[in-house]
Symmetry: C2
Subunit: 492 residues, 2 copies
């Protein structure tokens, strides 16, 4: 007779196998499925979600958890039990009718958003978003009651366990004191050197070849994953079979390429999660912020490092003919451009935090009930003016309607982007102390860097809490100075 | 409160949604998955099979069936209930430990077969096959007891419900009386006209383009399906999203092309199963024989029709340069070659039935206990000598070890290939009476032919028993004369 802990690991292994099927069918839906397959696929995935929810929230799981806590467990087993408990609690705290109402309101709002954004129609969008926010507040209240934290923090914890708005205020408050001046300084400096724009078209199939070459350099295991195309790039699949996607534009040589580098960071994290715990919650990625730290480590810390850009240029020139924009100085400078803009997903690494902090401040106030949906456009405009000197007056499309996140109620997610950038800078600062990173990047064999990430981050899965993970890896808690120092070193 | 019949349709809809995920993950495994994904995928699919088996065989399903039989149902609902009952009975009649033993022995035998066939090692293969046969006999006995038919017929019914060995003896007995002489006559005739062999290489990507063009001509709905590559070509996916595969050889222009035409026949059947019954057993394909009749209708009745070959040649010449072998007469004659050979999957439509009848006779005797595994090689050799004049003495690789079917215990499947060929010829004979088929094939717009197939076969799903389906479509039960007449007309 298996004990309660063994019952739990068995149950979570089953859940992981069903999640596997969902991950592959989900990837297929984005990357392979023809249009008429959509309805049946949606129903099949909904049926699977329902099954997984039932298996996860069955009362006996709660009994097993209570009993497992009394058993003698190794520290890894305890960590696993902690993650099991977390998943169980997150799944059981909401009543079914709220989940259903959220799913309906989210689908409605997201679906409408796709056309309303294009037509800049805030008036039609506002009531749909109001409904989503109202349900998100209900969710936040229930989660806050269950965990004893504030309403916003309860949502934040879905994506970044252990983080809270007090810490975010400190981290982001620091960034706000130096970022606007830094942007101005960098722009003034860059204005002195005019850039040559790359001239397309750049063939999609050659872009793909170049991307595959870079993935090889970055250690992607092609026996355990694939690169394909989808409208919205993502990293999916399962650790033994990671599916990353990109999208190509024949006008733009670099967008897909850095997208591939970014997703390769996510992929290597997944491919190297602790093998001996596969199928258990403790083998999953630590948090969204840590996940993003790996993609941004690859894209920003390594990918836009001047010595890496030199090698990237060599690769590019193996597939595309020389042109003035691909001369070395211009190649590097082009990929170091800093330009305040309205659109987050197009932002460079210097201005990106401004987009995130603005969203954090607004979504936090929204969830806590300090502002209403109707206040968003003016607040957005105000904050864009203050941080990047840009107006979004009457421009909802490129302002508060630009992101998909809020449409389905994903409040608390945005901060993880900038947390990821900060973690990435801190990891690189530590690596620089351990080895001659410039020389390693110069030689092109990044193995020592990846080995450090593997033993300190990837292979740790969720065995440690995030703060402990970062402290063990770098000797200190998250410290935003490393990110600032990185930006100064690279851009000034 | 839903009644028992509604409970059943709800349960089978859930089963169909889970089957959807299995179909896509199964397709992915063959067509997309990188090697290291295999273990986790195998576990995920096994978990899904277990779930589906549990949902299908739960005792309450039997209760619902008993109660539903007392309810007033429409004739379509009755047909659905009939198929539901059939699936439930097939799934419940075997004890779990037998199924598990079969799964283990089958995996072991199939896995070993992959290397033992290559090394022509019958001695090592024999004990593994013996184990599979012994368990298949157990299965056949249990199924025979449950259904009141003979042991072999009980297995045959898994693939071709309504068929039995008495009917097969008549059908195949007839073929045996005329086939050997017909083969000799055709060969003598063809020997008079020497053929020019097509000279490769034929680029894989151009072969793919040609295949896609033919699929368009044949009405494949690309909004509801895809063409990809796999080691073993198949038709998978779900009716709204049918995935067919092929494999390309640069030496061979026609193998992949006719493979694609064959799978397109399977695909159009699936794409046109009755939409209003989607998710219910009555909306599934009628039988393996009927399924094969559609692929062979496309590949043989249409695909190798001289007037279709002329158009195929035009398509081929849009992608590949002219060469002597592609002159019209040679193009047609090349695709009408009749050559007795050892390998079933390489056989032409004239010699193919000889391969099937041989296997039928051996597997039937094997399941009924009239011969033992050790008798197979000699019997095989004897029958190959008698039907095609070829020896397989000591050549197990190209003799009784050539097929995968028996290795995992799929006894009763082989006859469906030749049943399919016979049904296809009978359908074409009926269509010829209704419309000027040659003229239709000549014009290239096959819509009237497809419309006939759609209303008489595809859109009928499993609403009728096979014999009734064929009678309503053609006015008579399966009659092998149409197949004979087809071969005579085409080849003499």
């Amino acid at each position: 007779m298996p004990n309660a802990y063994q019952q739990l690991t068995h149950r979570f292994q089953r859940l992981s196998r069903f999640a596997h099927l969902g991950a592959i069918a989900g990837w297929d839906m984005q990357a392979m499925m023809p249009p008429k397959g959509a309805a049946a696929r949606g129903e099949a995935l909904a049926e699977l979600r329902l099954l997984r929810h039932q298996l996860l929230t069955e009362p006996v799981v709660g009994d097993w958890i209570a009993e497992a806590k009394t058993l003698p467990l190794s520290s890894s087993e305890q960590a696993n039990l902690h993650e099991i408990t977390r998943q169980y609690t997150l799944a059981t705290v909401l009543p079914g009718n709220l989940v259903e109402a959220q799913s309906l309101a989210g689908s409605r709002c997201e679906h409408a958003w796709r056309t309303l954004r294009a037509s800049n129609d805030w008036a039609s969008f506002e009531p749909l978003l109001k409904e989503v926010v109202s349900l998100a507040r209900e969710e936040a209240t229930l989660r806050a009651e269950a965990t004893g934290v504030s309403r916003y923090d309860a949502l934040l914890n879905l994506y970044e366990p252990g983080m809270n708005s007090a810490k975010l205020d400190t981290l982001f408050g620091s960034v706000k004191t130096w970022l606007p001046d830094l942007i101005q300084e960098i722009m003034a400096r860059q204005a002195r050197y005019p850039l040559v724009t790359p001239q397309g078209p750049f063939s999609t199939s050659l872009q793909r070849e170049t991307g595959l070459d870079v993935m090889k350099v970055l250690g992607f295991d092609f026996e355990a994953g694939r690169l394909d195309i989808s409208a919205h790039p993502f990293c999916g699949g399962v650790p033994d079979d990671v599916r990353i996607t990109t999208r190509y534009s024949e006008d733009d040589l670099f967008s897909a390429l850095f997208g591939v580098i970014h997703e390769t960071g996510h992929a290597r994290y997944e491919q190297n999660l602790p093998r001996e715990w596969r199928g258990q919650p403790v083998a999953e990625a630590r948090s969204m912020g840590i996940h993003e730290s790996q993609s941004l480590f690859f894209e920003m810390q390594v990918g836009r490092h001047p010595l890496f850009l030199k090698q990237l240029r060599t690769l590019v020139l193996q597939h595309f003919p020389q042109q003035p924009a691909l001369e070395e100085d211009n190649f590097i400078a082009w990929n170091h451009r800093v330009t305040p803009g309205l659109i987050r997903v197009d932002a460079d690494e210097v201005t990106y935090p401004a987009h995130v902090i603005l969203r954090y401040e607004i979504e936090r106030a929204l969830v806590e009930g300090n502002i209403e949906v109707g206040d968003i456009p003016d607040l957005w405009n105000e904050k864009m003016q203050a941080s990047l000197g840009l107006s979004t007056q009457n421009n909802y499309r490129d302002g508060c309607m630009q992101d998909i996140h809020w449409t389905d109620g994903s409040f608390g997610y945005f901060p993880t982007y900038t947390l990821g950038a900060m973690y990435a800078a801190q990891f690189m600062a530590t690596i620089r102390q351990k080895m001659d990173t410039d020389e390693i990047i110069h030689t092109g064999d990044l193995t020592p860097v990846f080995n450090w990430l593997n033993s300190n981050i990837w292979n740790k899965g969720s065995l440690l809490a995030t703060d402990e993970l970062v402290k063990q890896a770098t000797g200190e808690s998250l410290n935003p100075d490393h990110f600032r120092q990185h930006l100064i070193t690279r851009y000034l």
